[in-house]
Amino acid sequence: MIQYFLGYLHSNVTPGEAGNFLWVTIYVLLVFAGISVGVMFMNWFERKVMAHMQVRLGPMRVGPVGLLQPVADALKLILKEDLVPSNADKLVFWFAPVCVVMTAFCGFIVVPFGRTHAVTDMNIGVLFMLGVSSLGVLGVIMAGWASNSNYSLMGSLRSGAQMVSYEIAMSMAVVSAVMLTSRATGTGTMSMIGIVQAQQQQHTWFAFSFFPVGLIALAVFAIAMVAETNRAPFDLPEAESELVAGFMTEYSGFRWSLFFLAEYTSMMAVSAIASTLWLGGWLRPFPNLLGGQTWDTAFSLVPGLLFVALGALCFYRLRSMPRIRAMRPEVMGLAGFGAFLAALGLFMLLPAVRVRIQDIFWFSLKIGFFMYLYIWYRTTFPRYRFDQLMKIGWKVLLPISIGVVVLTALIGVRQELLALVWR
């Protein structure tokens, strides 16, 4: 048993590639659990970051610095009354949130958190993810239709139109990144793991290749992904202060939380695509510039030290908590949480662990960076009007992304072109 476990740990392929059903199942469950925890953390993170940007504190009561707030919210939503509007199409009404959640989670089959840390590796990985997120549009439209409300239908059609429009720009940007994978080996790949390995071979993250074309491609993708997931500043269909209510209006309680889950999961999925394609996936910063054994070890210490530092921060915050009896649960909660974080950090400092954890850590950090950008946009920008939104998608982002593809191609074959010209 132990040998089997250890034997697995020494493999160098993902379970899907190895055809190992047991581990595939375990990984699927891990991914599912990880995403759920990630969504809950993201909920807390968003509320705290928005609050601090708005000169206020955010959730503070439920758990230390409000960390248990998402748990409380989830409980509340589960316990709410389950309303189905009269004359609503019951089957479609039930299926719409299922559809969006399924498609959002499906994308994570190919997301690699490390060389072996993915459920599987398809050789059309990126295409698969984009295709699956397109299916999510169906769920949105179904939701609006099934609600039997004029306003919900209009809202869902607008959402759908917006998502479809920006997918094209997204895909063009992805094409330009995929083209870059063929520079070192002469054959490109659409597999997510292959793309990261190409970046490793070429000693550069694709965001910095063909400077500044790579950055423009990343920028186009970053903007299009915000519109794809219906987030600010492109969140007119779901804005509360607008007239036409969004497609989610008639959904309450648990059904709504499924939409919420699907939205954050798709945010993380597109962030994962962006991290993999342009920011080097699971590679640590400066893999070649600061190469060598010592740098590798130094960088692999970062996750553990970070968690230890977070634990220390918790203990430091304990000092400013009131020392009264009524606050004892909070104090103990924060101390316990700090201890947990510190213990986790120390665990991650163990050599056997840190070698495997570091990839996951860097990849999660990159996804977290994009999540922070999402929250930052939401706090800062006003909303685009719908016609302006569509205009940007079709008249601004699409031409730029096509231009990026053409430029990447031209720069990529510049030597052959020059040879042709200078013949």
Partner: protein, 383 residues
Amino acid sequence: MSDDSFYESLEEIAPGHTFLGSNELVLNMGPQHPSTHGVLRVILKLDGEKVNGIECVIGYLHRGIEKLAENRTWIQFGPFVDRLDYTAAVSNSMGYCLAVEKLLGVEIPKRAQYLRVILTELCRLASHQIWLGTHVLDIGAVTPLFYAFRDREDILNVFEKYCGARLTTHAFRIGGCRWDAYEGFAKEILHICDDLGPKIDEYKDLITGNRIWLQRTKNVGYISPEDCLAYGLTGPLLRGSGVNWDLRKAQPYSSYEDFDFDIPLGTAGDTFDRYIIRIEEMRQSIRIIRQAVEGLPEGPIITKVPKVIKPPAGEAYVSIEAPKGELGYFVVSDGTAKPYRVRVRPPSFINLQALEKMAKGSLVADVVAIIGTLDIVLGEVDR
């Protein structure tokens, strides 16, 4: 109007027809709605996204203040006027007291006039901050609301120290002010003036240069100067269309002629110009407050008026430049202690009428922006 050119051409092809032969959608933005700044009901007739017709239903906050005025004495009616425009209570009080003092023919001491100016301009700052926060929130930026309310807290603290109430202040009395400046009044207000300048710059940084904001507000809610006058619009709406008229300069009251300030004027008559005007008005208010505080004369704060105020029979119309526009009081006295008629000329009521003109032909998302730029408060609309 480049974004609307698609709809304009449709109007040429098939005037009055709805596109694709679809029915008009009647959408009700009900009395309870996050964006209507109170209990305002707006009925929209939509053709897709385009607004074909718009109708306001008001009266949900009608409290019969003008009727109540006829059943209270002149002095007792003082607190009622705070509840009209409750975001800027002090300016309502100023207008009412000026109207009754005009009927009585009393002269207000200089110190009282300066105190009134200081408090009214602070009130203008507070009202414009609410406007800024809520208007920007409706368009989608959620953060400036919190900054605006944070900065408003300092002003409300001053009101609280001065008269005990933050919102419905009843700060003035007929004849002058009830309380004198408390200890530290000047210092605290100068501190606010110093702080608020950079904070207004913060708002400008966050919003004014933002291209999304520009796209949402430029060419939205246009009204021409002639229409402004025909509708009786006043305040930033009038000045946004280019008509240079501000009661503080045109018919100075309460020593406004002593102060040196500018009137911001717009040219385009759209939402963006009105936004810039109100931000600039905040800066000019800071200027006025500083001059008033530094030049506050000594002296009494209230003239002697009889205990029971019985203005001689007659009528007068006195108006002031409230933050929302021209707030006027038409007071009719029959010589008794109770008013015969008090008519409040509410700027928000009259400005709201122009919503139908400004929003017709625009898109649904712009209606919310236009309601925000009108800066209405339903307490004044409905009285």
